[in-house]
């Protein structure tokens, strides 16, 4: 199935324009993938710079230095979130794998797919310019009166954010419509693979929440240009309104990131324990419930901002409710492992890391949900550590796990598994050192976004910096290992490269590795309960 003597989607057309004008979802997925990985490394570079500054605990009174530090963590947040993580799994792996999993030749709107990538590129160009020349020093959260009155170039940044938002809107419309109309014959809703379901849930959230970000940013622009006075207290406005609008998007967006990540982990765990996921319906409905409730709980970022006690109470209750489907997923994964036939390969090892880091991240989130504790923890390093455990620890690990899982399918090559295991353990160790020390810093009370801290925080900050260097090295080497797989003359036999993990879903068994340009020779027709019984053959 993979003797590479056939015309796969990589070899069928060559040249720059065959990639730049492609309508093939697989090529677009790979374009997204490389853009995302490059900018992940750039965002990581910003992070290492931040940590190096924090090693030294500069006692600089210079206002210029403070502004540069603010610009640095703003740049880190913007690049990591908008360029690397939000498009991360849905646009790269999702674009590639979704049509294969539902048994169709391409997404329903291929040109829209390409235009979403163009919007993404334009957004990147504008935001890179903004980061270097726009002096955006407000933090990625762009809180209202300061983002208007500081010298930040909000106009260009809003344009960049509008392009990113348009790109993700187009992708989500594409995914939802494709899943509803293009499924293979015999593939009912409860036969769709879990990764596709998670992409569906995440696309619904993106569809509903992204326009709110667009209008929020536009309101900032109008406020600055026309002095409308809706956010600036000097003109009778209310800064809390901006926070409401901003977090109405920015909280659901973390579910946009984590739900596909969990979908990937479900796929990997079921393949490596040779069982279909225990509680498939649980996993599906928990994704949908997380998507729905995630739209209602934005206020837990604003417990100390000055909203009413009643609002605080409602948001606490709803956020606790969201923890329920999330933990349902964790228990179903563990139940899938029980009495499974387990094989430890790179994607599976990374899934273990995911479960461990996500549990810690989720439980610390529950701690933050408690209002009385939030009063102490808000805007300290506890919050920073919490969201890094979720974003960098869980979403990123799931992304890499998915990459390592689908790499043979995408390129017909296997990376060096031994090195991948070593590097993933290296990054895991580095990650724990970096961010667990930040939990301790948060307990001790160190505020976030400060470049100068009290003497007692010095030791933990230095530990964190050392961990950051180890983490950065680990992730960089993981990516290098993947890229070097293009250059190894594989000594593995072609036969076991086609499906090295011996997965049984149609995206692995009905397509070649790498797939043909039009995915399937004949569109697959699924039998009843084929997904449930695929490992029982």
């Amino acid at each position: 199935m993979s003797n590479n003597n056939y015309e796969n989607y990589l070899s069928v057309k060559k040249g720059f324009f065959s990639w730049f004008y492609t309508l093939d979802h697989k090529r677009i997925g790979i374009l997204y993938l490389f853009t995302v990985l490059i900018f992940f490394l750039i965002g990581g570079l910003f992070a290492i710079l931040i940590r190096i500054i924090l090693w030294n605990n500069f006692c600089s009174d210079s206002l210029i230095f403070a502004k540069y530090y603010n610009r640095l963590f703003t740049a880190h947040g913007l690049v990591m979130l908008f360029v690397a993580l939000i498009p991360g799994i849905p646009s790269s792996l999702g674009n590639f794998i979704l049509p294969l999993q539902i048994g169709t030749r391409d997404l329903i709107f291929p040109k829209l797919n390409l235009y979403s990538y163009y919007c993404f590129l334009i957004g990147i160009l504008i935001s890179v310019y903004c980061i270097f020349f726009g002096s955006i020093d407000t933090g990625w959260t762009l809180y209202a009166p300061y983002s208007i009155t500081s010298g930040a170039n909000i106009y260009l940044l809003s344009l960049a954010v509008l392009f990113f938002g348009t790109s993700s809107l187009m992708t989500s419309i594409n995914f939802i419509t494709s899943i509803i109309y293009l499924r293979a014959e015999g593939q009912g809703w409860l036969n769709i693979p879990i990764f596709t379901w998670s992409l569906f849930a995440s696309s619904v959230i993106q569809l509903v929440a992204t326009p709110v970000l667009g209008i929020t940013i536009l309101l900032l622009v109008f406020e600055k240009f026309f002095s409308l006075g809706i956010f600036d207290p000097n003109l009778g406005g209310d800064p809390i309104l901006f926070q409401h609008l901003f977090w109405f998007y920015s909280h659901p967006v973390v579910y946009v990131m984590i739900v596909p990540a969990m979908g990937l982990i479900s796929e990997i765990i079921s393949v490596f324990s040779r069982k279909t996921a225990f509680g498939y319906t649980n996993l599906v409905f928990s994704s949908l419930v997380i998507a729905f409730f995630g739209l209602l709980i934005w206020g837990h970022h604003m417990f100390v901002a000055g909203q009413s006690e009643f609002s605080n109470f409602i948001f606490t209750v709803l956020t606790t409710l969201v923890a329920v489907p999330t933990s349902v997923k964790i228990f179903t994964w563990l139940s899938t492992l029980y009495r499974g036939s387990i094989k430890f390969d790179t994607p599976f090892i990374m899934s273990f890391f995911f479960i461990f880091l996500f549990t810690i991240g989720g439980l610390t989130g529950l701690m933050l949900n408690n209002i009385s504790l939030n009063v102490w923890f808000h805007d300290t390093y506890y919050v920073v550590a919490h969201f890094h455990f979720i974003l960098a620890g869980s979403v990123l690990y799931a992304f890499f796990a998915g990459l390592h899982f689908f790499w043979p399918k995408m390129f017909g090559r296997l990376y060096n598994v031994k090195f991948a295991n070593i590097f993933s353990f290296m990054s895991f160790l580095g990650f724990i050192i970096t961010f667990f020390s930040q939990f301790i810093l948060g307990f001790q009370g160190m505020p976030r976004r400060y470049f100068h801290y009290l003497y007692q925080y010095k030791f933990m900050n230095r530990v964190s910096t050392l961990g950051a260097i180890l983490t950065g090295l680990g992730f960089f080497l993981l990516i290098l290992n993947l890229v070097l797989s293009f250059f190894n003359n594989s000594k593995n036999s072609a036969l076991n490269l086609a499906n090295p993990w011996n997965a049984k879903t149609i995206d692995w068994t009905e397509t070649y590795s790498p797939p043909l340009e039009h995915n399937f020779i004949n569109l697959p027709i699924l039998k009843k309960d084929e997904y449930e019984n695929c490992f029982k053959k």
């Binding site: 509903v208 709110v212 809706i230 009778g236």
Partner: protein, 215 residues
């Protein structure tokens, strides 16, 4: 409805064409949902201030001319009706009536814009402007009242922007039906313009009831 136009679903190609066209309709509805969410955010802002400044808003809204608002509402409702009629006539293959009603839709849209700008010019003259530029000293608590006018200009401004886009789509429909012979594609594009125009109409109704009549 679409199945009646596609009589044959034997081969893979035709089935995909049907699914693709159904998918286009769903895609259009999803896009409209995202546009509605945009206005939802604006109404959220409005309700936020309405909740905290009810009395101020009650006084300020009397400065809006309800007669022009009512006339604009009637224009929008009639234009929605004419564009619906043009869709039905195109479905019955009566191109002449399609063009007539599309023309009336565009005409009503342009009248709407004319009256809107008449309103705006009056406001600029009197000084009822958003935020910093507010100059009308006749209203109480001048340092908060301008917020109402900020929202007036924001909401109606966003509506006008979408109206102009809607007009552009209606004009494009006209253009396609005149020059392009593919019936199904024209029909779908006309339906899209129809839906977008109805959405603009609904938004205007909500704005009218919130700002002018002040529920």
């Amino acid at each position: 409805m679409l199945e009646n136009i596609f009589n044959r679903f034997d081969s893979e190609t035709n089935e995909i064409d049907l699914k693709e066209n159904k998918g286009i309709i769903l895609g259009i509805y999803l896009f409209l949902i995202s546009e509605l969410m945009l206005f939802f955010a604006l109404f959220f802002c409005y309700f936020f201030y309405y909740y905290f400044n009810y009395n101020l808003f009650k006084i300020a809204h009397n400065f809006l001319d309800i007669k022009i608002g009512l006339f604009n509402t009637l224009l929008m409702l009639f234009s929605s009706f004419t564009i619906f009629l043009s869709y039905e006539f195109y479905l019955s293959n009566d191109k002449k009536k399609t063009f007539i009603f599309l023309f009336f839709t565009i005409l009503f849209g342009i009248f709407f814009l004319y009256f809107k700008f008449y309103e705006y010019s009056h406001k600029i003259e009197v000084g009822l402007l958003p935020g910093y530029h507010y100059k009308n000293g006749l209203l109480p608590e001048p340092d908060r009242i301008h917020v109402f006018f900020s929202f007036y200009f924001l909401l109606t401004g966003a509506h006008i922007f979408h109206l102009i886009i809607g007009l552009f789509f209606v004009f494009l429909s006209f253009f396609f039906i005149y020059f392009r012979t593919n019936f199904l594609n024209n029909l779908i594009f006309l339906r899209f313009s129809n839906l977008y125009w109805h959405m603009v109409d609904i938004i205007w109704l909500i704005i009218f009831f919130l700002l002018y009549i002040f529920i």
